[in-house]
């Protein structure tokens, strides 16, 4: 096989910029998506029926349509309704909303796994329902579903490659851009794949470190 990586050495800075944007987009979407997920999960278990319906519809809408269609709807569709945003903002919004939908269901499962006893413990301490949710229930619930959340985060990280479609100049875009110039498709794809792999490995390591610190209580009793 004829592998010519030399043609790609000039593009180091481009790869770096693309990787940085992928990381930034993923990180920002994880924060926003998780916030949406916690709110959504709380909404799914709300005592108010309309709140349950709205969050339910949100989950069904996001989980049953392709990500690229959600992205195109935000980028190409919303301008028709007078809401125009740049490709970067549209990508961030689409990724956050998408993660929010999946995270809602995952966190709801975590909440379901917490027994009534915990809620009652909160109530007996004089906490309101919302305070119990925030202070007593949420962290153990997140701990239960943490592995599932982590995989969803990785899907978001890798799925960010899709936003290259609307000219967001992240890692996949950079790869396609470079190979449209030097026609070294295989070498470019190889490098892009290697960077994604490295990103995910580092990301998993960070998640494991967070698990150790934040959810140490879960292992304390064992």
């Amino acid at each position: 096989m004829n592998l010519t990586l030399a043609d790609l050495t000039d593009h180091g800075e481009l790869f770096l910029r693309g990787t940085a944007l992928t990381i930034a987009l993923t990180f920002a979407s994880l924060i926003a998506g998780m916030a949406l997920g916690v709110l959504g999960a709380a909404g799914r278990r709300s005592t108010l029926a309309p709140v349950r319906w709205i969050t339910g519809a949100y989950v069904e809408l996001i989980r049953n349509t392709p990500f690229i269609i959600q992205l195109f709807f935000i980028f190409f569709g919303l301008p028709k309704l007078g809401i125009r945003m740049g490709s970067l903002e549209a990508a961030f919004l689409a990724m956050s909303i998408n993660l929010g939908g999946y995270a809602t269901e995952i966190i709801r499962a975590g909440l379901d796994s917490i027994g009534r006893g915990m809620w009652e413990a909160g109530a007996s301490l004089g906490l309101t329902r919302w305070q119990s949710f925030r202070l007593v229930i949420l962290v153990p619930a997140l701990q239960k579903v943490y592995p599932a959340l982590t995989s969803q985060f990785i899907i978001i990280l890798l799925g960010s490659s899709v936003v290259s479609q609307i000219a967001v100049e992240e890692l996949t875009f950079v790869g396609s851009y470079i190979q449209s110039r030097n026609f070294r498709a295989f070498e470019t794809t190889l490098i892009v794949a290697a960077i994604y792999l490295l990103l995910v490995l580092v990301f998993k390591w960070i998640c494991a470190a967070i698990d150790k610190r934040v959810f140490a209580f879960a292992r304390a009793g064992r």
Partner: protein
Amino acid sequence: MLTLKRLALAAVIAVLPLTTSFAAKADALADIMKNKVLRVAVPQDFPPFGSVGPDMQPRGYDIDTAALIAKELGVKLELVPVSSANRLPFLQTKKVDLVISSLGKNAEREKQIDFTVAYAPFYSGVFGPASVKVAAAADLSKKTIGVTRGALEDLELSKIVPVDADVRRFEDNNTTIAAFLSGQVQMIATGNVVAAAILEKNPPNRPEPKFVIKDSPCFIGLNKDEPALLAKVNEILKKTKADGSLDAVSKKWLGAPLPADLKS
């Protein structure tokens, strides 16, 4: 069996140049005037230059140009639908008098046939609504231009665009068009035929020509050694350019008048 077929084919190919060079001795213009018929090879699969209309009749820029020339000659028009692969053989075997089939000029073709002056614009350029004031690459500064990544327009535009212009490179042609139509980019760099196809749909964002990136206009092809026919068609093209009738064809099919360099 296969080799026999190939042999026969080889024999045909070997004899073909002899017959055409012999036949080319005749005066095509005299024949046209005598038979009162102008036979023109036109595309049928390349809108807006040539396609089949809802009435099953061929229509397009090339067909209207052929009709203009036949009218000026005062003869009947006979359209011969061809594909881009067989349009030159049709001419060389004298099945048609002219090829008006969005034919570009290059050195290889010039060895085989003659060309008239250009009759239709075919170029890559930057297009945008009238409200965006751009006349050259330098004016793109601080503006957003959508282009299909890796396309000819991307490669050529990247060489001439100012550093502070915002070139957005989209995955494919349709995404680029969607970005322009939804107002996500101010301008679009594409072919004039694509711009014409967008204009035909009458969108709120109209891609009107701003400047040319790469020009390769269309020419009418005819057989070599036909000076009378060549002179006559050139004269007709000059006249129809001057009186606006070819301009009308351009406006009708490409949504834009003939560019200045094609007008003379």
